[in-house]
Assembly symmetry: C2
Amino acid sequence: MQISFDQELSTLKEKILLMGGKVEQSIRLALKSIVDRDSELAKKVIQSDKDLNDLEIEIDEICHRLLALHQPMAGDMRFITSAMKINSDLERQGDLAVNMAKRALTLNQEAPLKPFIDIPRMADIALEMLKVSLDALVKRDSKMANQVRKRDDEVDDLNDLIFRELIEYMLEDKAKIKRALDIIQVSRDLERIADHATNMAEVVIYMVEGKDIRHGRGF
Amino acid sequence: MQISFDQELSTLKEKILLMGGKVEQSIRLALKSIVDRDSELAKKVIQSDKDLNDLEIEIDEICHRLLALHQPMAGDMRFITSAMKINSDLERQGDLAVNMAKRALTLNQEAPLKPFIDIPRMADIALEMLKVSLDALVKRDSKMANQVRKRDDEVDDLNDLIFRELIEYMLEDKAKIKRALDIIQVSRDLERIADHATNMAEVVIYMVEGKDIRHGRGF
């Protein structure tokens, strides 16, 4: 029984990392479909969301099986319930990548407003946060997870910057409003992706350090 | 052992409903602090977030205890893991109420832009969605949960309407930009609260109907 439990726990880790890799890929390609104005690529991102949804369900089933058929020790149980929560965050990040890809389809029908600089920077930070959160989960490392929380402010600042800049565009020329609004949506999607990564990091910190830490930031 | 499990499961239901009630109250008071321009009330909402965070942790602990000390049957186990996921969504809705209250503190320092009509309507729908999702969880009723999903579009439409209207205000008079941006943020917070309620409903549908339903909407 113990070997089978360990095997299944390894499978869980593999699948969560696989899910993370696929979500990362979706976000990356959705961004590329906007920056390179590639609508075919955007359609692929939209289609591939089904794989993510199937994988989310598969991971949930593995977690349920681990909880039901074995009686995991406290540490492993917390790993399994944390993986379930992080699984939900990953799936929602996948949905946000689909939102970005749908926005690409609209944006690509109009002339470009300006070259993208801050949006790719935001995406880079959000992707880094996602990767480090998953790494922290698998390594059960709360220090790593803490680094993720700190980076969320950078993403929020970039989101504000982009928002204010695009408002200027709108005020300058009414013909730019529609495109500016679409880009604001992309920026919001990236901000939410980073928020989910932050939530994932907080789940890891709670898993490792216990109940006193999770809400220790105060106001 | 069986009675104690049933008792603890009842406690879990009570605590989740208590959490739901407190989050609902936070959202309601945050809205009131904006509409009535009541900064003292906004501060109370911000302070009360600590209670929500503590309760989230307490609920998580009950779930872990239920999973560890008893070996729940499949149906109960899915209820417990669903409660854990919904618990996270509730806590995040509480955070969004705090965001709204913080925005009230800024908005209340300036002259009002216009009376609030669509924002309270959005809040009403979001609060209704939240209540029905929790009811559906406790009653394990997927039909009820399905109603929640349908209402999310109404909230999205109102959010778009508010956004477009406020852009008009900004174009009309630059002095209104700052306030308009703050109200756009409030509208976004409410949209995200409704999104979390939708996620909660989807968790319930999956819990009741199993793996074939959750991602059945397609594109």
